[in-house]
Amino acid sequence: MSALLEVSDLEAQYGWTRVLHGLSFAVENGQITTILGANGAGKTTTLRAVCQMVKTSGQVRFDGQRIDGKSTEDIVRLGIAHTPEGRGTFVELSVEENLRLGAYARRHRRALAEDYEKIYEYFPVLAQRRRQQAGTLSGGEQQMLAVARALMSRPRLLLLDEPSLGLAPLVVREIFRIVRTINEYERVSVLLVEQNAAIALDLAHHAYLLETGRVVMSGPAAEMKKDDAIRRSYLGY
């Protein structure tokens, strides 16, 4: 198996404060990889660094090609979709317009109509609310819209930042179910950042544990789940 995303010695800083200290990890093609960690460990920053939204150094390779130093817009055009922390939906635009924007950067527009259909199949709720302003959706629906918008760009890699944040357990389960389906059927690789370690480890194939900007442990999700330290600190049993 070859790595779709390969990150080595990644450092990132906000102003004078360094947040990531030489991070290395990989996302295998077709897999779901998760990065776990407590608040402030640098999870969100890692995703932002991959998209070059913060000042970084170190190497980031996507599909073998160096993408560090490129602009965020160009990285998105290469096939990385990012659902940011706090969802980042366009609250004043309609659901449909949000999806249209998701497809803004893609090259082949022919299959566009087909993709709308597919998205509405995955997220029937959005089909009902097509013309509604995104800001009027519930939190769970907005999260779904954020994922849907990301998928509209037909990405090869989906970066998901805390999709469970502030949502009811039932809604969270629904969203994770959809992510798994998308991974299996659409062959979209996923890099998931989560505080809720239990649900993330259930979903992922591979996991990394982040502490204050460093990878302290990594391995297949199933094995990580059995680890005593992880169980005590992150799973709570």
Binding site: T72, E73, V76, A81, H82, P84, F90, L93, Y104, S153
Partner: protein, 293 residues
């Protein structure tokens, strides 16, 4: 009654011009949270370019289109070159930069073309049009038509094209727009370009009425400010309605309120701005934006 209708129509004509300029202001404000104090002077300068082309013997509509195109490119370049370095700077900094542009445009126009007023032709016939007992100026009707046409085009552009959608998105949420692959800073540049093109149309429509001189936009810009304030700086529809309201009010007050006449017209605009800002700072159509501290 006839005079009333006549005054309303000529108010609509000037109102349309204020609306165009106000819309230009609002477009830039929405995209960048900046009021471009040089908007009027940019329009004035564009009108001088049109005048030069007409002097050179170009047909009116050729000069018109060329001017709009040049204004568009010029606005885009201004944003890229002059405004870009201070993007995200404090309000005061950006206000000062646009004021700098204002005086530069004003003085360069005076430098090249002198401060003597010049007549500027109207593309419409000079014979008045009579409907019933009411006489309308053909230029007034034509200006209303052109303004309407431009407004409709702009509406269609923002509502239905992907580029228009991307521009709206970039104005609302730059971070997410970038994540959609939208080149946000170019969208801001496009916004400036469109605003400048718009202003150029307004300038060419108003110049036959007020005559062409480097200071011709001073008062008009004040009315455009009033229009944008009345309608609300966050609402394009508001800018249009505000422009028309201000134009009609100005004409009616000037005609019927004797102590104001034409001498205190600017003061009326000032009063409108201050009253609206005090009573309803978001304007008639604006939304309240909650700012985080």
């Amino acid at each position: 009654m006839d005079i009333l209708i006549q005054q309303v129509v000529s108010g609509l004509a000037t109102g349309g011009i204020y609306a165009s300029l106000a819309l230009a202001l609002v477009m830039i404000y929405q995209a960048t949270d900046v009021v471009n104090f040089a908007q009027g002077e940019m329009a004035m300068f564009s009108t001088y370019l049109a005048w030069s082309m007409l002097q050179a013997g170009l047909p009116y509509w050729v000069a018109f289109s060329a001017t709009v195109t040049i204004a568009f490119v010029g606005g885009l370049l201004l944003e890229r070159i002059v405004i870009r370095p201070v993007e995200g700077a404090p309000v005061l900094t950006i206000v000062i930069v646009t004021l700098g542009l204002l005086v530069i445009f004003n003085s360069v126009a005076g430098w090249i073309y002198s401060y003597i007023q010049k007549p500027f032709p109207s593309p419409f016939p000079s014979t008045p049009i009579k409907i019933g007992n009411v006489v309308f100026g053909a230029h007034d009707l034509g200006a209303i038509g052109i303004t309407l046409l431009v407004l409709v085009l702009l509406f269609l552009f923002f509502r239905f094209t992907t580029l228009g959608l991307a521009m709206r998105a970039a104005a609302q949420n730059p971070v997410s727009s970038r994540l959609c692959g939208i080149r946000v800073s170019w969208m801001l540049g496009l916004g400036w370009g469109l605003a400048a093109a718009f202003g150029a149309v307004a300038g060419m429509m108003v110049a036959p009425v007020v005559f062409l001189d480097p200071n011709m936009m001073g008062g008009i810009q004040l009315y455009a400010f009033a229009a944008a304030t009345v309608g609300g700086f966050s609402s394009p529809v508001g800018a249009v309605v505000g422009g028309i309201l201000v134009g009609v009010t100005e004409n009616l007050v000037g005609t019927y309120v004797s102590f104001i006449g034409t001498e205190l017209k600017l003061t009326v605009a000032l009063a409108m701005i201050i009253i609206v800002l005090l009573v309803r700072p978001t304007g008639l159509f604006g939304r309240t934006v909650v700012k985080r501290v």
